[in-house]
């Protein structure tokens, strides 16, 4: 018996749900950032699973572009985190509830 497509989709959904839960309950900015990365990765798993089961290369190109976006997001997001920390001496999102720095 081979692993079915729905198994991969279920795994991806579970990972996405864990990421959503983390974003909701975490209060550290860096932890929330890592949960967002987790959600991006679960979506990548969906793309690769569909690409493999439909024998279409498009899904894997989407994964490639998602990874690029994640890298750009990491660079800009961590820059914002450093700027917030420099201004507020804290990484708690409750301390940065006003967008104004």
């Amino acid at each position: 018996m081979e692993p079915q497509l729905s198994w991969y989709l279920a795994l991806s959904a579970v990972l996405f749900t864990i990421g959503v839960t983390g974003v909701i309950i975490k209060r550290n900015v860096i932890s929330m950032f890592m949960c967002i990365e987790l959600m991006l990765n679960s979506v990548n798993l969906t793309f690769v699973a569909f690409a493999s089961f439909f024998q279409d290369v498009t899904g894997q190109l989407f994964v490639f572009i998602v990874m690029t976006v994640a890298a750009a997001e990491a660079a800009v997001g961590l820059g914002i985190i450093i700027a917030i920390f420099r201004n507020r001496e804290s990484l708690d999102v409750d301390d940065a509830s006003i967008l104004k720095l």
């Binding site: 018996m1 081979e2 692993p3 497509l5 729905s6 198994w7 279920a10 795994l11 959904a13 579970v14 749900t17 864990i18 990421g19 959503v20 839960t21 983390g22 909701i24 309950i25 209060r27 550290n28 860096i30 932890s31 890592m34 949960c35 990365e37 987790l38 990548n44 798993l45 690769v48 699973a49 690409a51 493999s52 089961f53 439909f54 024998q55 279409d56 290369v57 894997q60 190109l61 994964v63 490639f64 572009i65 990874m67 690029t68 976006v69 994640a70 890298a71 750009a72 990491a74 660079a75 800009v76 961590l78 820059g79 985190i81 450093i82 700027a83 920390f85 420099r86 201004n87 990484l91």
Partner: protein, 177 residues
């Protein structure tokens, strides 16, 4: 055999993902997240996508997580204190929302089971570097170029944000030096 490997790597991924959320120290969450990335790369190899697996390990587990760990250590993040959350209903809401999400997914999976998806009979070299490269530089050239512009914007934005005395440092002391 493949089923055993799937169960192993899926269990590893879910366990590490739970550890990411459960850990209070961000550094331990980062290490667990690397575990998730590695097990997902193994799943990509099982799905006949070796190029994506390699990129996953190099870009995610290598570059992005090194950046995150670097920032964690640079800012000297301490463990999250056991403070009373300002919004007391946040944890129940999170649990309820994830229960709803899981229920939706289970419903979709149950309804999908009736129409079984058979693998299409296409070319077998879908996951190889050659096919990805040729598709990237012919059919999908425009998204590729847009991605490069996005990366350029990210570079400029990150430099502007993190620069001392930059756009966002409202502190006068840091602006002088």
């Amino acid at each position: 055999m493949l089923v055993l490997l799937f169960i192993l790597f899926a269990g590893m991924a879910i366990g590490c993902a739970l550890a990411v959320v459960a850990q209070r120290n961000p550094l331990y969450s980062a290490i667990s997240l690397i575990g998730v990335f590695i097990s997902l790369a193994c799943l990509y190899v099982m799905l006949a996508a070796p190029f994506i697996a390699a990129v996953q390990v190099i870009v995610y587990a290598g570059a992005i997580m090194v950046l995150v760990v670097f920032v964690i250590m640079l800012l000297n993040v301490e463990e999250e204190a056991h403070r009373r959350p300002r919004l007391k209903f946040l944890l129940p809401v999170a649990i309820a929302l994830s229960a709803v999400l899981i229920a939706e997914v289970a419903f979709i999976l149950v309804s999908v089971q009736e129409s079984r998806i058979t693998p299409a009979s296409g070319s077998a070299d879908v996951g190889l570097t050659q096919s990805i490269g040729s598709a990237l530089f012919t059919r999908y050239l425009l998204p590729f170029e847009i991605t490069s512009i996005l990366l350029l914007m990210a570079i400029v934005g990150a430099m502007t944000l993190a620069r001392r005395g930059g756009l966002l440092s409202g502190n006068d002391k840091t602006r002088r030096d």
